[in-house]
């Protein structure tokens, strides 16, 4: 009898255990056991959409472009009916080594993707933006971008063998204008005076401009104010070195980069109307010698020092000089290949760096001893990190090779030809497709 009872108890226990186990043994839903792989679906969908690069094209469209709605239609067609989606496009920025993702556009066919969703990301790059070399102009991101080329018909040049100032201006225009926001030829000394007075010629930005003097060792001088005593003329020394001083001050004031393409900078002043009967001793009229005092005065003006007539010759003759490694790098970058060695007979001394608070930002040639054959000198006042005016002087013997002028400027301003970083602005976009599943089990 007792055994019968025990057997019953055992049966009850086993049955209870089975029931309890059955309670815990609730099978997951079929969707959970073998779920639709939303991540994989998202990725393959993105791949399908981009198989003929349509997606790459669309994601670079403007946010209000109708192609977005076409993309939404295509997405709906690609996905099963019970799948809802959200496609988000980010622009990828790289700033200071940190990636930044800026939302550009988002399209969706549902307000919510439910509690269970998954996403895949896909990176696309714009071939239009990235892989055609395109010149990024100096000043494109603000701050200048104007190139002035002195093309003064009433001023003559010197040490520009084989050229006239006007033919040089034409060649320089062809070479450099693609790299600047605006290239303005200054066609006469009156226009030069206007620019020196701070008045733009064609709505250009005056500040931070580059001014190339195509007259070689001569510099055009406007008549009137700029040749008046105390402004352009130093009566006590019968010299127009004072004009160079004023020029230096203007360069400082407007933060210009003054470019001397050959020889001794600012050695003559030139204006055929102002000096009709004066010449440079070589039969070129409309020109008057200033001598070494011109450059000294210019540097004084640039450094905001008091004007002091100084006719001391400061340049040296290091002879054969070679392009710096930095310049050679940019030869390749810009596809400009002047001869790698040149003859320098008017190199500036390194002492001007401390005397006039100059910093060499681009050394076109390797320095030879204390001589700097060609460099961009940027002026910064004591205690300041802001540049206030610059001089780019190529102290080479004639004949000038204007490719060196162009290369020097490009080395210093480094306008971008190629999108050098994968994630440079507007070159790549991140597409995230998030999918959710709706409907019954």
């Amino acid at each position: 009898m007792m055994r019968t009872i025990e057997v019953l108890i055992v049966i009850i226990i086993i049955t209870a255990a089975f029931l309890i186990s059955s309670f815990f043994a609730v099978l997951p839903s079929p969707r959970q056991v073998s779920p639709l792989n939303l991540r994989r679906l998202a990725l393959t969908t993105l791949q399908s959409l981009d198989s003929d690069y349509a997606l790459s094209e669309v994601v670079f469209s403007e946010p209000d472009d109708p192609v977005w709605s076409q993309l939404q239609i295509a997405l709906s067609a690609c996905l099963p009916p019970n799948i809802v989606f959200n496609l988000t496009v980010y622009e990828v920025h790289s700033e200071g080594g940190t990636e930044l993702y800026v939302l550009k556009k988002s399209i969706s066919n549902a307000e919510s993707l439910g509690i269970q969703s998954d996403a895949a990301s896909y990176l696309v790059a714009s071939s239009n933006v990235t892989y055609n070399y395109r010149i990024e102009r100096v000043g494109a991101s603000g701050g200048g971008g104007t190139l002035y080329i002195l093309n003064c018909t009433d001023a003559n040049g010197w040490w520009i063998t084989g050229y006239t100032a006007q033919s040089l201006a034409g060649d320089l225009y062809n070479l450099l204008s693609p790299y600047f926001q605006k290239t303005i030829p200054i066609n006469n000394t009156q226009q030069l005076g206007q620019v020196l007075n701070g008045t733009a010629l064609a709505g250009e930005t005056l500040q931070n401009a580059v001014v190339i003097n195509t007259c070689g060792e001569a510099v055009p001088i406007p008549s009137g104010y700029y040749n008046s005593s105390g402004v352009g003329y130093d009566a006590s020394h019968s010299s127009y070195a004072r004009y160079s001083y004023t020029l230096g001050q203007r360069v400082r004031q407007y933060n210009w980069t003054w470019v001397s393409i050959v020889g001794y900078p600012l050695y003559y002043v030139s204006n055929t109307g102002l000096f009709p009967n004066e010449q440079n001793d070589w039969g070129i009229y409309g020109m008057r010698s200033v001598g070494a005092a011109g450059l000294n005065a210019f540097l004084q003006g640039l450094d905001n020092q008091a004007y002091s007539y100084d006719s001391g010759w400061i340049t040296g003759e290091p002879g054969l000089v070679y392009l710096s490694s930095n310049t050679l790098y940019y030869c390749n970058y810009y596809g400009i290949y002047p001869s790698s060695y040149q003859t320098s007979t008017r190199a500036l001394p390194s002492s001007i760096l401390s005397t006039y608070h100059l910093n060499v930002t681009s050394c076109i040639f390797n320095q030879v001893g204390n001589w700097i054959p060609g460099a961009v000198y940027r002026h910064a006042s004591v205690g300041s990190t802001n540049y206030t005016g610059s001089l780019f002087a190529l102290g080479l013997a004639r004949t000038p090779d204007i490719r060196l002028t162009a290369l020097g400027l490009l080395c210093d301003y480094k306008p971008r030809l190629y999108r050098s970083d994968y994630n440079a602005t507007d070159t790549s976009r991140l597409v995230v497709l998030q999918l959710g599943q709706v409907g019954g089990v």
Binding site: A25, R40, S56, Y122, T153, Y163, R419, Y422
Partner: protein, 796 residues
Amino acid sequence: MNNRGQFSIIAALLVAVILIATVIITYSTIRNSPIQQQPQVLSAIDETNLALKQVLGFTVGYYGSVLQITGNSTYAKMLAANYLQSGLVNIGNMHPDWGISFNVNLLDMRAYWFANSSYSMGNIVVNYSLTGLGMYGVTYQTSCKLSVQTGASTPDGQMYIVVTEDEDEPLINLGKQNFKFYCYVQENSTWVKKNPDSEPIAFANGTYLIGAPQGVDPYSYVVLVEDPRGIVVIASSFSAYACSIQWNPQYIETKYAVTGSALAITGAPDGNYATIAKGTTCEVTDYQGGTGIIRQVYFNITYYGSGTGALNWSYRLDGGTWNNIGELPQGGSAPSPLTRTYNATSLRASWTWSNLNTTDIQFRNNLNSQDAYVDSMYVTLLVEKDIYANLRDATVVVELLQNGTMRWLGQNLQITTSLKPVPPLPVKAIHVNQTINGVNQEVPFQIEDWASSFQIPLGLTNNASVFNSGNMMVFLMNPNVSKVTVWWNGSDTAVQTSYAFANRYFVDDPSRGILYNKILNLTVDFSGNNFRITSKLGTVQSTANFMRINGEWSVYGSDPVFAIYNGSVRDIIHAEAEWDTSMGGGGARDCPNLYAHIVIALPANATYYTYQFKLMFIQSSLNRNISDLCLLQLQTTVQQSTWGADWSKTLTENGINSTGYPIVSNSPGFFYNQSNVWEHHWSEFIENNHGFGVMTTTQQNIQLYTFDSFAGAKTGGINITDTRNFSSQTATVEIKPVSPLARVYPFTQKFDALWYGAVATFDGEKPIYPDAGGTTGLWIIAEYPPTITLTTENWV
């Protein structure tokens, strides 16, 4: 035994506990262990691999963009590798949780461009780890490729282009924006890229049928194809320029009949007709004579007549049977006769002057009842003057510019076909071959940088650069050369041929002013303010001084620039001429506001050097008064017996005769643009073919008179003097655009002028013109330069 039931209960309880625990654990594991985990790893790998493939495509595209700027493929690969790295960083940043790290085992990029079968491709092997997902050491290898094959063009100018990608899969989704054709703009010497005007027709095998944009030659074109991955290929329907050289000049000459069945039909058409009755004939059998090689022969007839029946004409060779040329159209009248021409060139394998006179032309009147009338029957010939027969080794320096122009001594060579501008090829890719005496071989050449419209030499072109509007390709050729082929190797890894830079001919020493091509020695004296050149060949020596204005010689404040020395095919120096205060004032006497520039080049294999003189007169408020402008003065003093027993002679071309040969003056004097005699291409001082002289092309001969219009009278010319003193003799040759014949005044305007020519020195052979006379001499290369027929082809 009594406890056996309790044990059963205890056993059942244990079974129950185990059962429940097992079920709970099992199902808990099932429920809480996401099945998605495994697919997540797979997705991550897929996504990473996909991103890597994309990045590779972009990198190859980037590489292609750099190669369009520089021919330095090492540099381009460096930039592209940097780009790839930034791409990998970007992939990592997309999923920081994955913890991706990459190790690039191989990055291989290649391009083969500017050929009819061109491509860009890349291979990559990357080893990466997804530490966040526990994956390590995944190796992924992928590649991408874009190939472009240019096909034949249709007669209506449509081009077939086949585009494939990766494993030669057709790429069929390109639009017109993906094709950019290179179009040369002559005005500013630049290449611009043009899309087709209409969408191309795409075929399933990747073939596109594209209409040529305006300005693009559909039979010789360069096209940039860019696929949506950004991969760029520049393909060209050709990879070589073939220049067939015609050395001897060819002229059309008309030779009228001198013997005929009727007098009226001989001679030129003159309106005097022979009446040919029905059923009768008239013939011409002999013609005016001539010299040269007959290349083509044409029969001509001038006649009229009409009626029922036919008019026919026939020819007969060497007394054989008459062969009918054909039926002549009827009509015409005496004041307005009909003319017909028949190309008879193929009737003989070659034509000589003698068998021309055994060629008869007959007219037959087969009208039923009407007379016919014949004015003249004659032949026209294309005759080649075989003037280079005895001048097989005279060197001509050809300068090929980007726009396709070929120059020699400042004059464009005549090109019988349209110009073919040189594409923006990497300089290192260029080769030059010549067919010399029937043998095709690679030859030296050099590519030079010039500024200011090819007026200022800058030096040899860097082999990393891309051929551009400032480049000049220079090669030599002589009459043994029948074909010149400029071809290129489109591989990005091509190495510049040594023929482009290796010095084979020169032994120069710029520090001593020596330029020597192992034939002619030039000594440049730049001591003090001098710039003069003494040329020496064997026993002959002459000195050149440059730029004299109103009696004042120029001075040189700077040393000349040795722009190219120990060159491949030529040396170049240049200098600025100035006028100082030595003769009062400053600048050239009575000629202010003037810049001057001199370029001297010494070619290899030549007994001459070339010059380029440039004067830039700027606008002047002061008058200029020029009565003497001497660009070049050549001078030497020799003993009477130096080169022979006789005094040396001065010879100058003073016009040309009816057969195109020089009329030679052996008198000194000033040779200017006299009425009807302006041809003074050359002047020399010579004895027994020893001596020196100057020569220039026809265009530059005319340029010698450029100031005549300013002077209002004849003033430019060549002056040659011969001063004898006891047994010595001093000869001087001067190139003078302005002479005392007429002054140039006031001449205040801006004016640029250029003069080109050559100074030859000869020591027993290759004179400009032999003093014994004859029909040979270097004058021929100046006066009758070769003509070029330019075609494009694919170099194999």
